[in-house]
């Protein structure tokens, strides 16, 4: 078994374990675990913003490992457009389409 399959199966098992954890422990035990270590419960709330922002940022401001030097880089402008689209529509599709259209429009115009 190579690294890819090892990774997929391990992450799959871990994800299923997360999803069934409180369901199998029972509602009482589950919520007690999360409240007893309420510090842990409160920290879980920050996983989505921290994780998603950490995934996004290098793809936007780095190219070949170095910071973009041009403030008018098409990717930065496209990111701004996508942020606005996400705020207004809350839709993955609309965010994606506006970002890609602006990326290519700016690339052709500049």
């Amino acid at each position: 078994m190579n690294g890819t399959w090892l990774t997929l199966i391990t992450v799959g098992v871990a994800t299923f374990a997360y999803r069934i954890s409180c369901i199998e422990l029972g509602a009482g035990a589950g919520s007690k675990t999360l409240q007893a270590s309420s510090r842990f419960g409160r920290m879980l709330r920050f996983v989505p913003p921290a994780a998603f922002a950490a995934i996004v940022s290098p793809a936007i401001v780095l190219r070949d490992g170095a910071l973009l030097s041009n403030a008018l880089d098409p990717r930065l402008i496209a990111t701004a457009a996508a942020l606005i689209a996400a705020l207004v529509t809350r839709s993955v599709l609309a965010t994606l389409v506006s970002g890609m259209i602006v990326l290519h429009a700016v690339r052709l115009l500049l």
């Binding site: 690294g3 890819t4 399959w5 990774t7 997929l8 391990t10 992450v11 799959g12 871990a14 994800t15 299923f16 997360y18 999803r19 069934i20 409180c22 369901i23 199998e24 029972g26 509602a27 589950g30 919520s31 675990t33 999360l34 419960g41 409160r42 920290m43 879980l44 709330r45 920050f46 996983v47 989505p48 913003p49 921290a50 994780a51 998603f52 922002a53 950490a54 995934i55 996004v56 940022s57 290098p58 793809a59 780095l62 490992g65 910071l67 990717r75 990111t79 996508a82 942020l83 996400a86 705020l87 809350r90 839709s91 993955v92 599709l93 965010t95 994606l96 970002g99 890609m100 990326l103």
Partner: protein
């Protein structure tokens, strides 16, 4: 909901194939892992030469949010037989959770007869089918996308769409800001460990900001630096 999953699956399939994963691994990942953001992260990190252990650690942090969904759904599934609980747990994605909990919310008393777990299962299976079908379409179609389209940029755009709804309050925004800055600063760390640490930094910053703002809610401006 299904309309949002469709492009996400297409992009995942297309990008994962272009990132060098075998089509079979790309497709089966949609059944084995069945969590879009983790699947994209895995494909991206494999392409960047990340070590399996680091990819696993990163995904395990990213996916820990499912414990919250599990805790939130648990009171509504306790009466079901084990087979049902296993199936519903497997189907408990971000989107299925959102659909199911909005169905359960507000009705503390269980209606008789209670068919809401059938609704949950139906939503989950519909999401699963669309996710796997769109992955397959992405796998087939993805190999033919010209590189001039810069489809790789679709990954950050997709995550922006996931990020924005999670920025509801100041501590969450601080978590995002710290995570983003740390991720750029730690980008050159070997084995792609930077993303893993950046997530931890972001989570810690959010918690620190919440503790700080909770203690001194009154007069401090938003420009105060938190201990990130």
């Amino acid at each position: 909901m299904l309309l949002g999953v469709l492009p996400f699956g297409l992009i995942y399939g297309a990008l994962a194939v272009n990132a060098g994963m075998s089509p079979l691994a790309v497709q089966l990942s949609s059944s084995i892992v069945f969590a879009g953001s983790a699947q994209l992260v895995i494909a991206q990190m494999l392409a960047a030469g990340g070590a399996p252990l680091v990819i696993i650690a990163t995904s395990v942090v990213l996916n820990i949010r499912h414990v919250l969904y599990s805790a939130s759904i648990a009171p509504h599934t306790g009466h079901l037989p084990r087979r049902w609980r296993m199936l519903l747990a497997y189907l408990l994605t971000d989107e299925a959770y959102a659909v199911a909990i909005s169905r359960y919310a507000g009705n503390e008393k269980r209606p008789h007869p209670d068919f809401r777990h059938w609704f949950f299962m139906g939503a989950g299976l519909a999401l699963w089918s669309v996710w796997n079908a769109s992955t397959l379409a992405g796998v087939i179609f993805g190999a033919r996308v010209p590189s001039a389209w810069q489809l790789d940029f679709a990954i950050p755009l997709t995550f922006i769409a996931l990020l924005v709804p999670s920025l509801g309050d100041a501590p969450s925004r601080m978590a995002a800001l710290a995570g983003a800055v740390a991720s750029v600063a730690l980008f050159a760390v070997p084995l792609k460990l930077g993303l893993f640490f950046a997530m931890l930094v972001g989570i810690a910053a959010g918690a620190a900001w919440e503790a700080y703002a909770g203690g001194a809610r009154a007069s401090h401006g938003p420009e105060e630096r938190s201990a990130s």
